[in-house]
Symmetry: C2
Subunit: 420 residues, 2 copies
């Protein structure tokens, strides 16, 4: 574009933005929240899944106290998602975040040799990642070290170098399937290297948050290699603690979560839980087993979610493509085309993301804070925006995306103008 | 009794004990677990309380993420139990223990000035008390100081002296209504003194576990003075954090728990929770509101529990009275006659409790470990036994109690014999 063309274009965009400002929208693409249409898929779980049997398969009265590990049929069901045995599976409440926090809290403060005895405790944080993981680490006083992602999981050269040298690094988070927000899935090679890598801290912990394990958008599914098996094979059986939940399968606020780990690791974690809870909600476990039945039924159920979700992802891609698909405009923004999960990640030009999100907020479209996917929200390049389209209707999504495209181009051109 | 009579009696008891040993029982009075008959009172909650309205009174979709504080109607309902306003009420998951642990964990490790920065952190533990409170404190590395109970709550002279002198004492537990296991309820005077006492640690915390707030056995009800009001009046509004749950109202494993505290205290606690969970199970909150409705309905529901429970307590009292009611035999054991709650507490002669519980175990009757109601299980007098009759059928209870009376007399006489 010539200088003149650029100025004309900038004027057009500024006019367009003023029009948005005069008639502000009221939309949010901020959080990965299932839509009403998706919630209806599990309505039967709430009102039409009668419990007729009070005894679990392992003869626990599901109404009463007891059964800290969860009922056997739930451990089987969640084991089928994590590829763990019943003995390697522990069932929690409605929140895998709570399980993660409790596990980290235990190793940090109440374990036999708590991490907090060291002057500094560090964690590797593949970024962009899940902001709630970072909030949790910050709350617990764990220093976060950002490591890059490659499109196939964390950059293992960087990870291996760091963990082999610094015993203060006690562990790392990984969202292995359809990472929040980049949508990438870790390769088999990454799984093997994570399982086998030499670590300066001898009881290294991988927090394996497999939140999107069956959250495929298409028939072509990305499936992660069994990390626990890989860890056992590498003689590091206690290295990984896996987490899954039904939050985005059934009812977000009333689902069931689970931990998968080696029997030794599991027993240590269960012992820590035994000081803070007698048992999680076994009736809800039973309801979920009745409703979700087995892995096959879960996958069929997830296809119904995909039918609702996939068009939203395709719409985002189509609109971004329409605005920025031509080669001469492709430098404004890059975006992901995930095969599953809940997010599209945008990489703007350096120094533009915060301003784009601010401009969107001013016209009534709420996005996740720019760069929130980085520890401490600290991304020196200021180029990361996360989109969560699940809870937006298609027509609203179109309006929001068009406004976003205007804001991206506007902010980028203004920045170029300023630099010149 | 003459020496000779005593020896004859001892022989009789030993023979009787041998007969038990030859035909061991299989009974437990170990934990305060509701019986099947009680669980049936809330069966409708599980299968026949349809949810027809997805929006809560404060317009939260009860199925989705969000609503960390709980839905308004649940906050109202639990506020009616704790005499707190909606703003002073926070709703948790199925476990008040979990809420207690999270609160203590926060003040210990993640608060602005965490207790763990001090070399030693201490808590007052009115004893005999609830063993799971002590397990929790021990797990968190908090040193426990046992303080005596008076029959009207903790011995306030001792409490006031200790907390005024030692800034390492950060707080204390109280089970205000029908204390586990002594059954006593704190008097208005104790409430006022707790609220107003001068503490060396300037942000003293009272963990007010009102687990048995509506768990009356008879029409004559013991009601505790409003502690939060008393704390506000004494200008210590943040001193108390109250806990209640429906575990022993509805379904023990699938109930709802709540916290009551000043708005400031509540917001601090909620902020800590916001790092570890998005929201608790709001569908279950709604179900409980539909089922329990209001305080009046709760009290009527609790009367049905009382009808089932009261005969068990009366049976225990009757059998103990039959064995040890005569003045000449009254020195063998003292027992409580609670007006509510779940436990009867026995005070044996010094040095007898552990042996009695061991003898009972050997004939197949499982009791809570002797002296478990003391911090670290450490009761120098070895005289404390807790009975939890709720889950025993009346005929089994009779058999167990007769065996217990035999064991108490046997162990006591053997001890006297040994001493002579």
């Amino acid at each position: 574009m010539s200088q003149e063309e650029q100025e004309t274009r900038l004027e057009q965009l500024q006019e367009q933005y003023e029009r948005y400002k005069q008639r502000p929208l009221d939309l949010s693409l901020a959080r990965g929240v299932p839509s009403s249409e998706q919630l209806k898929l599990s309505q039967a779980l709430i009102n039409d899944t009668p419990i007729t049997q009070w005894l679990s398969d392992d003869e626990i009265d599901i109404r009463n106290y007891g059964g800290l590990y969860g009922i056997k049929e739930a451990r089987e069901l969640f084991g089928s998602l994590m590829e763990t045995s019943v003995e390697e599976t522990f069932i929690g409440g409605n929140s895998s975040l709570h399980l993660m926090y409790a596990v980290l809290n235990h190793f940090m403060f109440t374990a036999e040799k708590p991490w907090s005895q060291d002057a500094t405790v560090k964690f590797l944080c593949p970024s962009p990642g899940y902001d709630r993981h970072w909030f949790m680490l910050e709350q617990l006083g764990i220093e976060m070290i950002s490591v890059p992602l490659t499109g196939k999981g964390p950059d293992m050269d960087t990870v291996e170098t760091l963990v082999s040298q610094d015993p203060a690094i006690k562990g790392m988070f990984v969202v292995p399937t359809y990472n929040n927000p980049t949508g990438e899935t870790v390769s088999d090679e990454v799984v093997d290297r994570l399982a086998a890598m030499t670590t300066a801290h001898d009881d290294f912990l991988i927090m394996w948050d497999n939140a999107y394990v069956v959250h495929h958008l298409y028939e072509e599914r990305e499936v992660v290699k069994n990390i626990l098996e890989a860890c056992k094979y590498a003689l590091n059986p206690n290295r990984v603690v896996q987490f899954v939940s039904t939050s985005k399968m059934t009812i977000p606020g009333s689902g069931v979560s689970a931990i998968g780990a080696s029997v030794d690791r599991m027993q240590e974690i269960a012992k820590a839980f035994s000081k803070q809870i007698i048992s999680f909600d076994k009736i809800n476990q039973k309801r979920h087993v009745e409703f979700l039945k087995d892995r096959e039924t879960i996958e069929a159920h997830m296809e119904k979610h995909a039918e609702i979700l996939a068009p939203k992802f395709e719409w985002i891609d189509a609109i971004l493509h329409a605005f920025f698909g031509e080669e001469e405009r492709s430098h404004f923004v890059e975006w992901t085309q995930p095969k599953g999960g809940y997010f599209v990640h945008l990489t703007t030009q350096d120094g533009c993301a915060e301003e784009v999100v601010r401009r969107m907020k001013d016209i009534g479209v709420h996005l996740t804070d720019a760069n929130a996917a980085y520890p401490y929200g600290n991304n020196p390049r200021d180029n990361s925006i996360r989109l969560a389209p699940s809870n937006a209707k298609l027509d609203h999504l179109e309006i929001a995306m068009e406004a976003l495209c205007v804001c991206i181009e506007l902010v980028t051109l203004e920045k170029i103008e300023l630099t010149n």
